[in-house]
């Protein structure tokens, strides 16, 4: 348990008068801005739920768990699990890794299959366009497109 200050207690009371939807939005805003591991959809360390509860004492642990569950089922997160490898904690340090089972389930997940199919289609279309001689695109253009693709895939 964190030691509660009078200010902390007042903040907690104020937060808890808001709707649950508003509170989960606040939690999501906070973690996507503050933590690289969320911003970049890296595989999360086991126990990161407890670390977040400690880091955000003003919020209801049940709502923090809800935000985490929403994060974990986003296609972009599932794609990260499908790639496998190391997991990361709130400080962006290695902690554990994605298991073979987690990787297998993520690879076969319909959202990941869809995202990969859409990605392959866009790649084929881009290659076809390149073949047809429109080689004016600069490296910067391509970077911007990749970014847009990530966003599109993530919204599926």
């Amino acid at each position: 348990m964190t030691k509660e200050t009078a200010l902390g207690a007042a903040l907690k009371t104020a937060v808890q008068t808001m709707s649950k939807k508003k509170q989960t939005d606040m939690i999501a805003d906070y973690i996507y801005n503050k933590y690289d591991v969320f911003k970049r959809f890296k595989p999360l360390a086991l126990g990161i739920d407890q670390d977040l509860v400690t880091a955000l004492p003003q919020f209801d642990p049940a709502l923090i768990a809800r935000v985490l569950a929403n994060h974990c089922r986003r296609p972009r997160y599932l794609k990260a699990l499908a790639r496998g490898g190391k997991r990361f904690d709130l400080n962006n340090r290695f902690k554990g890794e994605v298991s073979a089972e987690e990787q297998a389930i993520a690879q076969q997940h319909p959202a990941v299959q869809q995202a990969l199919a859409a990605q392959a289609e866009r790649k084929a279309a881009k290659e076809k366009q390149a073949e047809q001689g429109s080689e004016a695109a600069t490296a910067t253009d391509v970077d911007v497109k990749d970014e847009a693709e990530n966003k599109a895939a993530d919204q599926e």
Copy 2:
């Protein structure tokens, strides 16, 4: 590494002349018959892949991994993860547990959502039937129906 006997080596050579499909079928037959944890689709201990490689030295580890991946993406296995709780090793002993992340992903998996919706529908239909006075079903009938439902849900 397991110490190889002449008989073991001969068996291994014989097995490896078969098609990969035939070999994975043999592995699947073997593990579903021999291990309760597979037969009953309980959450699998981490590292069970290595335990299986040791237990089945005549088979290619890559094919064992393929059978495991197939098992893990079956709706009935995903449903078990969605329930959460303990994981089990080949000897049916507790070893680790399903993480909050794994549970959240399984709960939101389309195959699990579909299976749960179908289950709720069947339950509603059954209750309606019971209300209409057809109370002749014995406990045995209900058991048989549940078994059939599990199979149906598993084939989705």
